[in-house]
Amino acid sequence: MYPRSFEYVSPGSLDEATSVLASTEGAKVLAGGMSLLPLMKLRLFSPDVLVDIGRIPGLSSIEDRGDHLAIGAMVSHAATASDSSIAEHAAALATAASWTGDVQVRNQGTTCGSIAHADIAADQPSAALALGATMVAASAGGVREIAASDFFVDTLTTALGPGEILTEVRIPKQGGASAYEKLGRRGGHTDYAVAGAAVWLDVSDGAVSSARVALTGVGAKPTLAEGVAEALIGTDGSDAAIAEASERALEGVTVLDDLFGTVEYKAHLAKVMTRRALQQAVAAAT
């Protein structure tokens, strides 16, 4: 298929980009294009103006800033998946990025783009949520930080305003361990997730001291499973404790079905994936 006509702008700086966005009705940010261009080709979405941020300097690196890692807007899934600091401090995100799309999609598409697109079946949004990431949004009016827990609003909808660009995702260097598990549409870790779970937790003195669990593909948006964390904290992180806590994965979540999963199945999978991810994280943390 072929996209509808649009105007294309390739700003040389972030200021220029935000000013175009501020002054242009119907403008949309283009980064890697892996989510946006297929929708445009199918004419399911046809913005009037595309603001390509691919030529803006300084958006393509992963920086270690002492207390957090900063992933720039143009960092590809492949770069996220293979970066050693991400592997050390944000294994859930590294895994999620490595299971996103295929090689070419990982070369072209961006971590920030995936998070900003907020597809419920995408892997990295829930990883960012479980890791307690902070999203940095730039607009003509300045820069603001948005906690991941406030970022995902609804299906394909985030807290980003129409004039804002997600310029950076910050992952705190918070110790502990994280993991991501999913079942893909063709089974295993392939393709979009039918359901998945990202977890981060810390263990001290033989007990789980803190935890965050986020679900992929289950509800209308990437969702924190707070009940699981609550149930797990204070336990010894044994398989039994994990299994019991995982049963609470769906508290407060309205499960949606699709071609690849019924409500009942997805609800079950969410628990299984939560359990498996928690087991991995506990093993890595201890």
Binding site: M1, L183, R185, G187, G188, D191, Y192, E264, L269
Partner: protein
Amino acid sequence: MGGGFGVSTTSVLGGVVKRREDPALIRGTGLYVDDLQLPGMLHVAFVRSPYAHARVVSVDASDAEAMDGVRAVYTAADVAHLGDLVTQVAVGKLRPLLAGDKVNHLGEAVAMVVADSRYGARDAADAVDVEYDPLDPVIDLKEAASDAALVHEDMESNVLLAWEGGPWGDEEAIAATQQTIADAKGRDDTVSVSIEAVNQRLLPMPMEPRSVVADWNVGYGRFTVHSSTQIAHALAGGIAQTFGLSLTDVRCIAPEVGGGFGCKLNVYNDEILVCFASQQLGRPVKFTETRRDAAGSTIHGRGWVATATITGTADGQILGYELDGIADMGAYSQNFTVAIPFLGLFVGAGQYTFPTHWKVACVHTHTMTTDAYRGAGRPEAAYYLERAIDAFAREIGVDPAEVRRKNFIPADSFPGAATHIGFPMDTGDYETNLDALLETAGYEDLKAERDRLRAEGRLVGLGLATYVEVCGFGPSALVDLGFSWAAYKIPSGFSGSGLVRVQADGTASVIIGTGPTGQGHQTTWAQIVSNQLGIPVENIRVSHGDTAESPLGIGTFGSRSAAVDGSATYEAANKVRAKAADLAAHLLEASADDIVFADGGAHVAGSPDQQVSWSDIATLAYQPHRLPEGMEGGLEAHAVFSPGNATWPFGSHLALVEVDGDTGDVKLLRYIAMDDCGNVINPMIVDGQIHGGLAQGIGQAMFEDGDYEADGNLLKWSFVEYPLPTSADLPSFELHRTVTPTDINPLGVKGIGEAGTIGSAQTVVNAVVDALSPLGVTHVDMPLRPKRVWAAIQAAKTNGSVS
């Protein structure tokens, strides 16, 4: 890998020759239809129905027509004079070229836009305003068969016909077979096991979307049409028929064709419509499907629901098999549509001797037309039969291999064996083939390993299935049963053709009437001709797919090309050889009977040092004044091969799977196949055909689902919703073969294009059901996506058992 090849491996037949097709394809220089850019070429986009069933209230194209670069917008009224889409088996409702006052499936073309660019054509198609009045669609097959609501209000029933046998066409004999089975069911010592299963609709999805370029030259009074088709001659005839032209006024060219699997074995309305537009506008016109077009408007395959019942005794003797099913034809009949289940009827009883009553009703629904998709009726037939046998074996607790072996048509029934409908079969040795599989695979060890893992609580399963297929169509006499190509101005039935021409320099041109889509005909046919003439393969060029030069052939489908057109080419080569012997005899002043062809030329037996080359022979042929009295010049021959029967390849397949009980995720661990396609010309190519066939059967078993929603929506517009197996989803395959040559053609070859697909879906499902059998699961419908497998496990846990 591989067994004996049945023919000598020192001969060029039976040996591996690297493909002659490949140098262009690996360099990116092969020409596919969409690569073609002609001066002044225009582009087409279709306006398609978003409803499964609706009245078309109005079509307003004024905005579209006013757009820059738009040359024309055509609707049904513009093409009404051309009639419905030309159709070979014209049973049921035929497709209008463009929908008129009603649309009958999602994606049906309502208007055609022609514009300067493909982007512009799409823009204009979006600007055509169609007002619809939606109606309730008929989608469910049982509902359709009940005639509770009619798909087409001017037809009396949705049911077009039912294919039924026992003995085919003999009502008394059918009734007697039914009585025999009823009697068996009434006995105290028999068990009946039934499975109701869906053989889901599939989307063929060759990697190359269909594409056609039509160019009407008013001065020449001729169409030149490039199309990604498997049947160039039928397309040319269909266009000639539609436009009232002669066969010489239409030249169709199928250049490189990027896969077909049956879906390019149709004359499509878009192919006719671009011809119309080219004639109207005096410009070349191209239509290339998007993948979305391909999903909704290129033919689909399968789409059956049926109940299969096996009745037999506790020792595994089967006394009767019944199939009662409904097959979805979609809204309109196209090329073969209603004939597809007929192919299933042929092999309804598989390799077995037991009494069989087989009945499948063909019904219209408000969906896209179904037609031939790799296997075409035979995978469905084999699926139900082999699933039912497996369920029966499980019920009586006898090894599934033993049950099959016990009921095979014995090898000593050949020649003379016939199918359950009375159709003669060529050759077969089913028990040897099955035993070879079991021995090669280490069946007993695999069973022991499965049982050991099962004892650890793991869900591991082994699946076995056997098949016999009918292919290599033939026989020519099918024409007398109504299966001719007369609708496309081709009166012939299922014959084949080949033309061999030795050029003046001693190289050979071979021109054939097949329509390959990746099967390597340029290589295999070069081997056949090289074997007969001794001209090296690299000096032989094979061409096909251009109706202006190739002899009349009905194309490539039904695993028929090598058996039928290959045999024709073999015979043509022999004619050339006979003439060349005369010529060489003249040159060498010897008798033709003493001429031996070797080392790229000919010599008199016993005198190899006095050799004449093929160039010497051909030079003489093209200097007729030097020829002896009465001998004609030239060195070429054409042959038409009339097969006396179809061919009947067979095989046995085994799969090993493990299921994750927590998620329903199925992992295919090993796939072992023992196929028998008769003699093998090029084992590399034959193995490649099996690999691809397996992937499509496994794709049906595990991934692919083209079924419509109850409201007539098709939510499978792309590979996102219709996942094909990828490299990451499949294991390497373990292939082996037995060789039972056919006696109906001189090459002894049966055909291999569809075997992998026909044998594999039920093998995988049998394995998964075996894995889940400790939980009480007896059946899971395809595709075995994790959600379905998990649901089956849950139901079994809840109910104790599930079907």
